[in-house]
Symmetry: C2
Subunit: 332 residues, 2 copies
């Protein structure tokens, strides 16, 4: 058996856990809330107001991403960005992440280094001051990234889904449909002649449509807008991950209000704006008369027709994405 | 195509995410520290002393467990128990878990219900008052369980690995080697004629060796002993997951002490006690003269020979388990 090319592309199996951590951890910072970082059995994180916000999300190779389409940096970036948005949707300031990764033993350690760089860069841009306080490495067939994110409510009440009232202004911050458009670009132009995800085709498609493909693979959600909304008196808020219509219905049902969207506020393609998933914008309600603060834009109004969604008064379809219905079983 | 037998064994793909959650969540309680439980984008957890302890660990079908050997209840139990022990090893009281699960679409929902029951029962026995405050469901080929656990230091300093001093009493709480003996039972008696993990053989082996097999599949670590050690003045502590010798070396290196184990304190088979992994006991150091509190037992003494492990003065082998070296690639 030939010796593996250790210097050019060592795998995590060749290096072993300690050596992998020694290469990955220095790429990360533990952030301002970290009181005790990696190295012991657990980390210690500051929770200045005596509470912490926590959310968790797992990304699995196959159903959630393709290595032919996403760069390692994209994966780290998206894993951080989506969890930071869930923290922001509570009106909290993100403080820290914990990251557990399961990876095939033949994965080049450079992939984990790229994921770490993506995590670091997303934190620096979307949640300055927050860092990675701990984590775990395991073995698996499919690369799996589980992020748990924490936030500080800074003395405020959390902003729930259930607080909207009839008459509230419904406002949105972030992209509307771009992630879905980016996924459509990848399906149309990022596959080979057999229909399989293909890295070279995807890279070329990304050069042609950089904004849309990045919206899918490395979204830039309006994380800081979560605290902005809370300070402006938002009555309800949530992260728009499954499409604006589907998540608006959740807010409407939790709050027992209806929501009427204004077609003119949803851009040239209102149906994609309503149906497209994975934009990770923030949907919020503000009391009547409050001008939604930047970067929020008013897109509708809450009414008393509990749980009903309309677009200029016409019913809206809210079918959306289900994690167990949307995957074809391919890991590519 | 015949309709699937929905009433007897619906799969999570047939039910969809919402219906799965509706069956799983009622089996769990969110616990005393939960200020806002599942249902919003994030949970809110109490952190009464302005800090929280956090640890995370992922279990993957194949490298970490076999569905032919572990029951769903075992999986939930072990996922909770191992993370609770990491919290306890800091001298903290466990308060809450967040659980993310990725599962094949054809997995019977009863498996997730069993995992939830195992999580609930482990919390009730090992960390009364603590609960599951949130989580996430994703799709994958291999069942994957990621748990993040939280703890409250109740105003105390965390107990680190690095605080032991020469002359300290080295003490241990929990099983020593039983999990490894249980794994040996399963390898010897829990496989079919082709050497594959086999559920019927494993169940029979478990009836013959209930204590050892349970120590491997559903360990009962001394979680409450973590706070006991902290209150008794422990100078250093860690969770013994990779074997007593290997983890003792970590404590010794972090504290710049040597550790001499007493053979007479390690039972009839001191080498298995030192080498066996996955017992999830607690190894702690106490100042000279302190009698280790129950359930800790003195098993050695710290000395000035930094990083060196000995057994009645003779060198100890500390090779152990690496997550990327210990898996044969089979998921069974």
């Amino acid at each position: 058996m030939e010796p593996p090319a250790r210097t050019s592309a060592p795998t995590i199996g060749e290096l072993g856990e300690s050596a992998v951590l020694a290469r990955v951890l220095p790429r990360l910072r533990s952030g301002e809330a970290s009181l005790l970082g990696p190295g012991d059995d657990a980390a210690v994180v500051a929770a200045p107001d005596g509470r912490f916000v926590v959310t968790s999300d797992m990304m699995v190779q196959g159903p959630d991403f393709r290595l032919a389409w996403s760069t390692p940096h994209d994966l780290g970036w998206k894993a951080a960005a989506t969890n930071l948005t869930d923290v922001a949707a509570m009106g909290a300031r993100p403080t820290a992440l914990v990251v557990s990764i399961a990876a095939p033993v033949d994965l080049p350690v450079a992939v984990l280094e790229g994921i770490a760089d993506g995590l670091r860069d997303a934190l620096a841009e979307l949640a300055p001051g927050a860092g990675v306080v701990g984590g775990d490495l395991s073995a698996s067939h499919a690369l799996t990234i589980a992020v748990t994110a924490f936030g500080d409510l800074e003395g405020r009440s959390p902003v729930l889904r259930s607080g909207a009232r009839p008459g509230d202004v419904i406002a949105h911050a972030g992209a509307r449909g771009d992630a879905a458009r980016g996924l459509a670009v990848l399906f149309a132009e990022g596959r080979d002649e057999h229909g399989e995800p293909d890295a070279a085709s995807a890279a070329a498609a990304r050069e042609r449509h950089p904004r849309l493909v990045a919206a899918q693979l490395a979204p830039r959600p309006p994380v800081a807008a979560g605290v902005v909304a809370a300070l402006a008196g938002a009555t309800a808020m949530l992260d728009v991950s499954d499409g604006l219509a589907r998540d608006a219905r959740r807010l409407a049902e939790a709050s027992a209000v209806g929501i009427d969207f204004r077609r003119g506020a949803l851009g040239a393609d209102p149906l994609t704006a309503l149906a497209g998933a994975e934009d990770h914008g923030l949907l919020a309600a503000f009391p009547p008369g409050v001008v939604p603060p930047h970067p929020f834009e008013a897109i509708g109004t809450a009414n008393a027709d509990a749980g009903r969604l309309t677009l200029d008064g016409e019913p809206v379809d809210t079918s959306g994405w289900d994690p167990y219905a949307g995957w074809d079983g391919v890991e590519g």
